[in-house]
């Protein structure tokens, strides 16, 4: 009996580990894809593709498209990496809690 119990537990642990790491990877990919969407939107979108359209809007002394291309995109990039670090650290913590 004791032996079976032990086997069950290790097996369960192994299965949980695989499911866990699969979930972890999926959650990781989701975070990355969402953030990359905003990365594309700020630079290739606002800074290049729709830049001329946005230029019709004024932000102080800037045309908005020009501002995105020369300042805004960079600020968005910094913000995205900060958000990424926060989300991934949270995910790491959650995963570690699940494992215990």
């Amino acid at each position: 009996m004791i032996e079976w119990n032990w086997l069950d537990k290790t097996l369960l642990k192994e299965v949980m580990k695989i499911i866990n790491s699969k979930n972890y990877w999926k959650a990781n990919l989701k975070i990355v894809l969402i953030l990359l969407f905003f990365w594309f939107l700020a630079s290739f979108g606002a800074g290049i593709l729709f830049s001329d359209l946005l230029d019709k809007i004024k932000l102080g002394g800037f045309n908005l498209g020009f501002w995105f291309a020369q300042q805004g995109a960079i600020l968005v990039f910094v913000f995205l990496i900060v958000v990424y670090c926060i989300l991934m650290n949270r995910l790491d913590r959650k995963y570690r809690a699940d494992k215990n």
Partner: protein, 582 residues
């Protein structure tokens, strides 16, 4: 105090600091030499990465280039920062988890192939040497203008400094000198920018001054700049003139290239944990962003200042800096209409574009060029590289600010050169010798080889500095295009696909590399006369073609892997392991 003495004092003090740090942090094992023992704090690594990344090109050239390109110059701002998002989200954490010494290490192990490792080493060496040539030129310019020594002497002094701390200290020495160099260079960049922003707009924050009204005038800086340029016959500063597809591709190539540059990636091997790798990518971009959001402000200030000071003033009354830079050969004036007054207008003033000076002086005292004068009204040739360096002089700032800028430019050039030399030396001693040709060498012998190859690489870099290849500017497109089309896709697929195998990866890298390099070589070296948009593939310039090379690499690698055997079981385990949390 005299400018030259001040510059000597400041540059000398900064050099003493770098050497002091190098002696304090001497490397004693290959682990310390390659990755600083893997114990660097993420904030320190962020600063070191920022200094490593921001080269003479970022410090000296970028604002000048944007100053003359206006909105089209945004490709550099977005491209060279957006790459860090790719690096942070797609590469740095996984490569840190993999946790070895070099970029070819990952490619060689993941694709279980010495050939793959060898191809990666070739790409790495080519990319890195291309880059170093630019740094040495930067060192040469600063020395010749501010310290008034011969360019060759300047390059040799620079080499000696880098030699001491790169060869002695390895990655450990480089890391802590780069932290110091970041502090010097960012201070040197910000001080004149803040001064000039206050002078022109009254706002002490250049990023805001950029969008403010000009002092005592009721007009925004950028509107004023547009008006002034329109009056002279130029396009609007804030409008783009390049085609969208080209701007799109250049930005993409610079981003992917940035993320694929070995000397940047390797910095993320030096922190203790995966979460530190993520954090230090964030710190690095924050530290970079301080300079990169200031640069476009500096560009617009200096363009306006330049026009106001130079256009329609007589040569005799031009300030000292104008004549100083003319003496070095980076400015020239040819009085086309013989009125003794400088006219600035669109188009190149000379044919060929760069001035070829004769020994004679004209009636106003200007240096005479032997170029053919073009038909347009423009009488001025100005090398874009001098805008940042001359900016404090143009704005009449005190001498200590000018000396500071010179030290900052040296810090930017030396820190990048050292980082590049280190990845070259480690790829030779570690990847070529230890992993391919002489696996039996001991750690001590490998460390000696690493120092030896660093010393040789410095020698080669010095030769580039003393005899600068005429094509330095042209080959910069190469570095990013090659990194984007070879190293970057191989790393991405190595992490995000379990199916891509060694034959796929090798053929992918080689095809991306061949396509990109032949396109650039054709338009830049074989037929430069055909290098305009009608002849380009889909209207994409050689600067942006790396994106197409990248797509080719991805496509070939995936198709070939699909028709050949899956990677073996232990590789699947390796991938699972780099994806799993710590």
């Amino acid at each position: 105090m005299d400018l030259q003495i001040l510059t000597y004092l400041m540059a000398g003090a900064s050099f003493a600091l770098y050497i002091g740090i190098a002696i304090w942090s001497k490397a004693s094992s290959t682990n310390e030499f390659y990755v600083a023992g893997g114990g660097v704090h993420p904030v320190a690594n962020g600063m070191a990465t920022a200094a490593d990344w921001m080269s003479a090109a970022s410090f000296i050239s970028m604002a000048g280039i944007i100053s003359f390109m206006g909105k089209d110059g945004s490709v550099y701002l977005m491209g060279w920062t957006g790459g860090y998002v790719l690096l942070a989200l797609l590469l740095a954490p996984y490569l840190r988890k993999f946790g070895k010494f070099t970029v070819p290490d990952f490619i060689g192990d993941r694709y279980y192939s010495k050939l793959a490792r060898f191809v990666a080493v070739l790409c790495l060496i080519f990319v890195s040497f291309t880059y170093i040539a630019g740094q040495m030129r930067g060192v040469g310019i600063v020395f010749s203008r501010f310290l008034e020594v011969d360019i060759n002497t300047g390059v040799i002094i620079g080499m000696a400094i880098v030699f001491i701390y790169a060869v002695l200290g390895g990655m450990k020495g480089i890391t802590y000198t780069q932290v110091a160099q970041y502090c010097v260079l960012i201070f040197a960049y910000m001080v004149p920018a803040i001064f000039i922003s206050i002078l022109i707009t009254g706002n002490p924050i250049p990023q805001l001054g950029f969008g403010s009204k000009i002092i005592s005038e009721d007009i925004y800086l950028l509107d004023k700049l547009n008006n002034v340029l329109n009056d002279l016959g130029f396009n609007n500063y804030t409008d783009s003139t390049k085609s969208k597809i080209d701007v799109f591709c250049i930005t993409g190539a610079l981003m992917a290239g940035t993320a694929g540059l070995p000397h940047v990636i390797v910095r993320f091997f030096t922190v203790p944990k995966v979460r530190d790798a993520r954090a230090s990518a964030g710190w690095a971009l924050l530290f970079i962003a301080i300079l990169y959001t200031t640069a476009p402000a500096v560009s617009s200030f200096s363009r306006l200042n330049f026009i106001n000071t130079i256009n329609n003033s007589s040569y005799e009354s031009t300030p000292v800096w104008f004549k100083n830079w003319e003496d070095i050969g980076l400015i020239s004036w040819s009085d086309k209409n013989k009125d003794g007054i400088i006219q600035y207008a669109p188009g190149n003033s000379l044919n060929p574009v760069k001035p070829i000076f004769s020994d004679q002086r004209g009636i106003n005292g200007e240096r005479i060029v032997s170029n053919e004068l073009t038909k347009n009204k423009n009488e001025i040739y100005i090398d874009r590289d001098i805008m940042v360096l001359a900016n404090p002089e143009i704005a009449n700032l005190p001498n200590w600010v000018i000396a500071l800028v010179a030290s900052g430019a040296l810090a930017a050039a030396l820190s990048t050169a050292a980082g590049l030399l280190l990845v070259i030396s480690s790829s030779i001693s570690h990847d070529l010798m230890k992993k391919i040709f002489r696996p039996s060498i001991t750690d001590k012998q490998e460390l000696f080889l690493a120092r030896l190859s660093a010393a040789i690489a410095i020698g080669v870099a010095g030769v580039f500095g003393i005899y600068p290849p005429a094509f330095v500017a042209q080959v910069v497109a190469f570095a990013f295009g090659l990194a984007a089309s070879s190293i970057f896709p191989a790393l991405i697929m190595g992490i995000f696909s379990k199916r891509v195998n060694s034959s796929g990866a090798i053929i992918g890298m080689v095809s991306g590399l061949l396509f990109t390099s032949s396109y650039i070589i054709f338009f830049k070296f074989i037929s430069p006369d055909l290098n305009f948009s009608d002849n380009w593939f889909l209207g994409i310039s050689p600067e942006g073609i790396g994106v197409v090379g990248m797509v080719i690499n991805f496509t070939f690698a995936m198709v070939i892997s699909f028709f050949t055997k899956s990677p073996p079981e232990h590789i699947i385990k390796l991938i699972d392991n780099i994806r799993a949390p710590e």
